[in-house]
């Protein structure tokens, strides 16, 4: 209890907690859960976008998309490292992902069906992620906070590219416009939902806020996201698929009711792509087993020879 008080005082004073510092088991546990989920999201998130590298409409867009997906792999790496500073091992975390025990962001269980989805994911999904990550960049755990700063700056670049794409298509040929609008129709609600359940259904939030892991509630972050994106989407000439959306007296954009049943159905595995995503990750892992064994054998032999 004394230790907890001291710990909470440090956080209250805005200090960062570092890897070797004492921390409550629940704090460690929650952070491992959050950071590894976040890492898994980066890795699984490579799939819906990666599928379009081979279908990009120009060589330039192809290069940009490869670079983006490559960044996501990099983010996965930093985040696994950040979780390792808390004592989790990469293997444990991967096992939890592959067995379906660990979660990843449910947004990646939606399918990418047209090229405009690549732009829309950059604009809305990365846009939502940035809101969350900007908040987490201020979180109390040093390694996570620093990973977030680095990731945020790259995500901001992806967000900008995504927005540029969608804006261009919204002003493009009728077929491109239609593709952009359709992408918005399919991604708007999932993007709102990806910021997490409404505060009243988010039991962990108060504890996480007290420990400085989260600095804002889900609904607050969601409001920031809508306030930024709604006017820009409208400005681009697109129609947001929410007839009840309006601005209130304070200038906040107020959304209509969110279909949380769909959210929970997707979380529980009933999205169109849940099974395919996990199968793809498992297949990559299984098919790569002999490669990893060969690397280890080669490395072990090299070390042994060096010791001779």
């Amino acid at each position: 209890p004394e230790q907890i008080a001291a710990f909470e005082a440090r956080i209250g004073a805005g200090e960062k907690i570092e890897s070797g510092d004492w921390m409550p088991a629940a704090y460690r546990h929650q952070l491992i859960r959050m950071i590894s989920q976040h890492a898994h999201s980066e890795v699984v998130g490579m799939l819906p976008e990666g599928a379009w590298i081979t279908r990009a409409p120009t060589l330039q867009r192809k290069m940009i998309l490869i670079a983006k997906v490559q960044d996501e792999a990099g983010h996965g790496q930093y985040l696994y490292h950040a979780a390792e500073t808390l004592g989790a091992t990469r293997e444990e975390m991967l096992d939890a992902l592959l067995s379906g025990k660990a979660k990843y962001s449910s947004i990646f269980n939606y399918p990418t069906l047209t090229w405009a989805d690549i732009g829309m994911i950059g604009w809305l999904v990365d846009g939502a992620a940035i809101k969350n990550q900007t908040m987490l960049a201020g979180c109390s755990y040093g390694p996570y906070s620093r990973a977030m700063v680095r990731i945020c700056s790259e995500e901001t670049f992806h967000h900008k590219q995504g927005k540029e794409m969608v804006v261009a298509y919204a002003q493009g040929t009728p077929a491109q416009r239609e593709m952009a609008q359709d992408a918005l129709n399919r991604w708007w609600w999932p993007a709102l939902m990806m910021l997490g359940p409404s505060d009243k259904d988010s039991p962990n939030t108060p504890q996480l806020m007290r420990w400085g892991v989260k600095l804002k509630t889900n609904d607050e972050v969601r409001q920031e996201f809508i306030n930024e994106h709604a006017p820009e989407l409208i400005e681009a000439g697109l129609t947001i698929p929410d007839p009840e959306l309006h601005q209130d007296a304070q200038g906040n954009w107020i959304h209509g009711p969110i279909n949380w049943d769909e959210f929970w159905a997707v979380v529980k595995g009933h999205g169109q792509m849940n099974r395919a995503r996990l199968e793809a990750r498992n297949k990559a892992h299984d098919d790569g087993a002999w490669v990893r064994e060969a690397l280890n054998a080669y490395e072990a032999r090299r070390v042994a020879q060096a010791a001779d």
Binding site: V43, M46, L47, G50, A51, W52, I53, T54, R55, A56, P57, T58, L59, Q60, R61, K62, M63, I66, A67, V69, Q70, A73, G74, G76, Q77, Y80, T114, W115, M165, A168, G172, T173, A175, Q176, M179, A280, K283, A284, D287, G288, A289, W290, V291, R292, E293, A294, L295, A297, Y298, R301
Partner: protein, 253 residues
């Protein structure tokens, strides 16, 4: 130097062949994105794929200066019968051994071709070769190490590498088959002589493969021209060109 019409035509054919190999190989590499055996290799192979597209744009840019062609138009609106890549690069991605070995054999070829092209009498080519050869040597280092690690790793990795080499070796011959009219380019010092590149290539890759515990197969290789393709190229292009062709009227991407 200013090119004769004959040289111009021949150079267009050679540049297109170079670009086509890059475009198709890069597609095969991209198929691994999100599916590599370790996360670090998702990153490394994405890097290679990116550079390959960069090189394709570089070669097609040189071509564009000669005939005003548009790189994306060439990439997304030519059919299988018009592509001039080698069969080596269109073969399906196979397993990790196949992918790494193909990449190694190709990187060695491209690095040596570019190395020789730095001395081109055609300044625009010499310039870009100077720049690209550095990237290519970095790829080569990466894939050469993989060949060694898998060749010498476990009995299984060795078997897979040897299987891959048995398939791939014959296809490498086609990399060195001269393109139409190439003799006029060689004579004028505009592009390297493929035969000379092949000699250097053999003296680079043969010892490395042997050091990696692999036996190089005997027998003739594929010597048909780059107009001949397998059905695999068709499937690849159907996928690669699907968006561009579906929205063929689009001006801005």
């Amino acid at each position: 130097m200013s090119l004769t019409e004959q040289q111009k035509t021949a150079l267009i054919a050679r540049l297109t062949a170079l670009a086509d190999d890059e475009i198709i190989l890069s597609h095969r590499d991209s198929e691994w994105t999100g599916h590599a055996p370790i996360l670090e290799e998702d990153i490394a192979l994405a890097n290679i794929a990116q550079d390959e597209i960069g090189h394709a744009l570089m070669y097609l840019g040189l071509r564009s200066e000669l005939d005003g062609s548009e790189p994306n138009q060439l990439t997304f609106f030519r059919g299988a019968r018009e592509y001039t890549n080698t069969q080596l690069v269109e073969l399906p991605k196979g397993d990790w051994a196949f992918t790494m070995l193909r990449q190694y054999l190709y990187d060695a070829y491209e690095a040596l071709w570019l190395d020789a092209a730095r001395a081109s009498s055609y300044a625009p080519l010499a310039e870009v070769a100077q720049k690209a050869v550095r990237e290519e040597k970095f790829h080569l280092q990466h894939t050469a190490l993989w060949v060694e690690r898998l060749g010498l790793g476990t009995p299984e990795s060795h078997r897979r590498m040897q299987d891959a080499l048995n398939v791939l070796w014959g296809y490498t011959t086609q990399l060195f088959v001269p393109t139409a009219g190439e003799e006029t380019l060689i004579a004028a010092g505009i592009t390297p002589d493929p035969a000379a590149v092949k000699t250097r290539w053999e003296s680079l890759v043969r010892p490395h493969l042997e050091r990696s515990g692999l036996s190089i197969p005997q027998g003739e290789g594929v010597t048909v021209s780059r107009q001949h393709h397998s059905e695999d190229l068709l499937y690849l292009l159907t996928e690669m060109q699907s968006t561009a062709r579906e929205y063929a009227g689009a001006k801005v991407w």
